[in-house]
Symmetry: D2
Subunit: 434 residues, 4 copies
């Protein structure tokens, strides 16, 4: 079995390697190829050498190599994971800094920054999906490039390759944290997730089949559960909010329901430490120093401070579940097909799925909960506008996507920030400069 | 034919009387009864005397009287118009002042103020609809009490009386103004409206059947067309906005798409002149002084500065169209039944309808335009939460309605403003104080 | 204004000419071109000469000519009517005779015969629509070729030309007959039609805006109303049927709800007189004898026995309503867009529409009546399979269409009749013989 | 854990007892109460004595008793299974004989017979569900009374008890037979079922996650797979049918797609052996003779010829899966909630579900396959009419249900057979004789 890791020079790669080593008995990968672009070759070599040392130390038999020749790498692949950042952390810095400088949240998923990440990323991933379709059509493409939901929908609508699954660590993190609170094994917890990537809610929490939603909501009020990842704020939810909502929000919901407080905190943090991207660049610099050490044979603890903990773990579990036709329930981004009955069949949603050899099969969730129906429908309509603009490269489409974003809204600010970001990211947006 | 005007002490009543006099040949009303509550009796008497003088001066034969006995008045009614304000302009003042004092737009239709207007109004209008159902079940209830869309949906879902139509002057005003710009007769203009009350868009403008949408959009950029009513701001739309949107916004859309500028202007105007309500109270005081003059035999020009111009005119035209089975196309609030294919059949929408003796028959508009789909869906979901809270009187429902409003959003501000408004309007919200 | 009549050699043409002459004041057609294929040239010449005499006798100024050069004829056309029969009445004879010989209703609209009429017709009309799109893109294509509903859906889905309207005389006939019964002017009657071509029901009957549905249903029981056209059986409906259905069936519904009696009558009539097609061939032969007489200057009375009475009249009224942007309500086949909320937006339905210069705008009818919901949904799914097979030319698709037809159903009979019809119509089905 | 078996005097009861004994380790039922009506007491006593002997012989500890006091029996129940036949086999005899005597298929599920089974059964099961709701609200009601789909929908729409699941042995039988053909373990086979009870199709067949649909379809042509239950005809499918359909039909589909051949065979078999009901009555007589033998300590082999093989087995597996929160995939009748995106959320469908302690969670199947969309939609609309008539007891509703049935259709025959069945079953249809 062959796995290709596109964006292999990422600092996260050691985590995925660790995951593959640990699962080798049940998910026997025999060949791994890291792929990156020329600019990433040096980092990929450092990561590749570390990965080789990790494999050797573990005693499992995996052949690992790295290359910048993507087409060559894809030959006979069974799984292709994609974890890339067009423009690198420098681009993310702009995604965050420019909106913040106009008093607007600049987060990299669904806000203004996320829109531009989509604009830069979607055309590149469409190219990759086309290559997969031509070279290894039976391979599963496991995308964990953000904004994962929009990217997955763009791929499933606009590429001929249909074996695409989007993954995010948020649902997994929530399950882990809630298991801790309920003092049960994470595998005993099932959360009925409903929504979209970075905009997913937990409708019900079951532990060993018993509904314990109310208990978890009560504990969230007292801040006992804290499942925010390292990279975003953690302000907590009020009793009024949780008692009214009767749903588990995810940490990203703070950007929407606590917009003012979040913005204030982000601005303050920006003034003190620069953007999150600048913090991460420093973390990465140190990580690569570590990776270079020839005595290092394992994923260093320091990687956890990087923010995307469990991401690679989620991807490994998913690939193993597909390979083994395990019928485990996992929360992924896939075609709706009725899972959320208010959304179109061909919308991409983040819901619980039974994982089989022929892909994820969503479990139905029925109609959207009335208390968040409007927010989810608006977010999906916004996503559709972003995808449209990513492909058309039309200024008007980009402007409409900005206008439709719940963190932007205002037409005057939309134009200012849009224009500045378009200029800043020019080199990575050929479709807007035809 | 008998018409009952509930809220008959309103300063608008002379307009409706004028409309009925002018249409008497084709819409021969023979009896009008004004109805108001005890607190409004004095104003109703003033208006009633003026109305009597107007009728006399016109020479038409209409028997006009006034009473506070609603049930008695409703006997044998063919049409019942409702134009009331629970708590009067003092309540509106609080609707506006309290949100503004927290830096939040306090407008009386779909914002925080509008939510409380719904909370106060819906139970009262449900009572009236029940009376109509019991006393004069064949009568048409023509509601122009705001928020007209939500009120109409609440009545159609929760009262047994199904002959209810909601009217608003916005679509009519837009048609008048655009006819002026295109230099054609208003009756030659047909705008394809799609959306919800105070959140309606014009998809296409036809003059004598010819599509002139593009021309109208271009003229809007240059500010040639100004169809804002007197009571709201008029900031104008940018070229980027209109060229991207490719739809005619209505003046209320400024609250959503130009939230910052609107808020700024409202705050400034509030600091200079108090709330719009306070301005209107002064206008009303002067109007009633005028109305009292026994030499006045017609609707005074000064009424036009009151803001709701054409409202009563629209209502008269509608009643006449029903009576005459005229099959005219008018824009009203009624059950969707497929007119907007993204919304539920039993949602109330504001769309073009063919008016018949058996009520309005909506014309289809197809799927929502993608560029505003999310906004309209969110607004409808918000409306549903407001209606639910209006009836349940539960704090959590009211909070969810606040959270879902696009002008509020933030959970912290939502609670503060909600709590203050609940306290301020206590006496008019028995359902919240059970 | 220029009108092109494709299938101009039809025996119906004098009716359309008469309609154009009578409406000339309000709908001033200045040029008519008849178009037919080589095989039809002789008949077209006969009809053309008659038409010229009719125009001359009437004194209106219309330039009429005929040609077999379709592309040339289409230049500058404003309206194109299509009334053709691929394979002529000989093909219809097979459509009827072959199913009947297997004890199956062979009617030419939605049954086995209608399926093959669709197979033969759809590719030809797609060619015509493509020509219109290229040569006279602003022209309205008025199709009255059967099966009109399926043909219209095929054109709107598979041709680039979107100005296509399908017409049928059934709703018009029903309106005429019911007006007679109610002793009112036909224009005072409005029937709320809902359904598909040849499968349309009347939900409500209004005369001058007053609901008289119940009265009409009662009269139908007593056979007072008889709105069957000449070409189909007329067995009448039982009291039980009408009291349960609470809808006005159309005459074609006899094929579905009275399948046994209809089959029996058709078989008997076939044994006595041959198929309806053979009867019509004889009628046509006589009609053309008449048409040839140089003293004939008007549409002969005998044309009425031909069966499609009013068809051309309906088409003329429709073109005039478009030209005059008249906003009349007419019942046509057009895109659903929500008119029937259980069907897809892009399904073609037969419903009431307001006719404007920019086309028909359907009035909503809401959800399908529960008592016929299943039948209409099945019929639409069947239509989709027929259209698919018409274009793909795949045997399996044709078989699935047969299987899905409510008059066929049985898989064994389906194959036998399908195979025989495929063989019989071979020459007109190139798509099935690639 | 306590299980109540309503209709406990059924000849099938030994099978369910056997199932419970075999599963006792994982599904430790401690108390079983059989319940029947007075007329069934004798048979129930015979079955009860046999069950006691079976339990004793097995060595498991289960306390078994029987009673005609349903309310008493329901106290503290965890599961309630319902397997009853209002009017007994004599009523079924009429369901079959009367339609057959008019040349109409009289099958007991979805045809004319099935409609009357629904009319007799639904009110009785609603009573039972109400009792469960009041006495043991946490109990799961496992219904295997036919027509199981309609009964389940009636209960979920019209009773306050929501823990209701309908089961049928058809999907289970198909899985068993196909496993045999593919020479794999039944648990390795997953068939993607989509549709309604007795009208379910297999979309895809997976063995160990590998798609083997095509292979199974090919084998069906050659008659290698025969998964018809004992009680219905088995005519086989043609190559044309299967190659076109590209779906696995279930044996009941013969009644629809092979209506003529099935009718012929049923009539012939009726003339030779009487109705299936009469055959079964003889089988039952012999079974009860066997059951009485005090030396019998196990389910006799002869029970298998009774026709409903595996039915009780399916019910036992389902209860065990719920109890153990097993997350197994089983095919049951439950609320749609989007599983089939063309049907309403609150329709009952037969689809694959993950079984949990809180009930079945359907897996999405997307839009209906186009080749059977019309048939399934029509069948669901028919079911809705049957349920409506079962409860209203209105003649017109019953007639509309008959008219909507694909095996009846013709309005003349509908009335004759309806009237005769209404008369024949009078005593069991109080709602029609108010």
């Amino acid at each position: 079995m062959k796995l290709v890791i596109i964006g292999g020079g990422s600092s996260y790669t050691p985590e995925i390697i660790e995951g593959l080593i640990n699962r080798h008995a049940s998910f026997p990968v025999s060949q791994i190829v890291l792929v990156d672009i020329d600019e990433g070759f040096e980092k990929m070599s450092i990561v590749g050498e570390l990965a080789k040392r990790m494999i050797e130390a573990s005693g499992v038999l995996i052949d690992l190599s790295w290359t910048t020749d993507r087409k060559e790498a894809l030959k006979d692949a069974n799984f292709v994971s994609t974890q890339l950042r067009v423009g690198g952390l420098k681009a993310r810095e702009k995604d965050e800094r420019i909106p913040l400088s106009h008093g607007m949240i600049g987060q990299e998923t669904n806000g203004a920054g996320g829109i531009f990440k989509a604009f830069r990323t979607i055309p590149v991933l469409l190219d990759i999906a086309n290559d997969i379709h031509n070279i290894c059509p039976d391979a599963w493409m496991i995308n964990f490039t953000n904004p994962a939901g929009m990217v997955t929908e763009a791929l499933l609508h606009h590429s001929p390759h249909k074996r695409v699954i989007g993954v995010c660590n948020i649902p997994f993190n929530m399950q882990q944290s809630i298991a801790e609170v309920l003092e049960v094994n994470p595998s005993a917890v099932r959360i009925e997730f409903v929504g979209l990537n970075h905009f997913v809610y937990g409708k019900k929490v079951y532990a060993n089949g018993v509904d314990r939603t109310q208990e978890v909501l009560d504990r969230l009020i007292d801040q006992v559960v804290n499942y925010s990842p390292a990279n975003i704020v953690n302000l907590g939810w009020t009793e009024t909010f949780l008692k009214s909502l009767q749903l588990l929000p995810n940490p990203y919901h703070q950007y929407y329901y606590k917009q003012e407080a979040t913005l204030e905190k982000d601005v303050k943090s920006y003034e003190e430490n620069g953007t999150r991207s600048e913090v991460v660049q420093e973390v990465e610099r140190k990580l690569f120093e570590l990776y270079k050490q020839p005595t290092l044979h394992e994923k260093p603890k320091e990687l956890e401070s990087r923010g995307g903990a469990y991401y690679s773990d989620v991807a490994c579990s998913l690939m193993s579940a597909i390979y083994n036709n395990s019928h485990e329930i996992m929360t992924v981004n896939t075609l709706n097909n009725g899972a959320i009955s208010d959304l179109a069949d061909d919308s991409v949603v983040e819901v619980n799925c039974v994982i089989t050899k022929s892909g994820p099969m969503p479990l139905v969730t029925g109609a959207l909960p009335s208390q968040v129906k409007g927010d989810i429908l608006k977010m999906k309509a916004f996503e559709e506008l972003v995808i449209k603009a990513s492909i058309s490269g039309k200024y008007e489409d980009a402007y409409l996507a900005f206008l439709a974003n719940p963190l932007i809204g205002d037409e005057d600010r939309a134009k200012v920030v849009l224009d500045e970001l378009l200029e800043a990211h020019k080199v990575y947006l050929p479709q807007f400069n035809k």
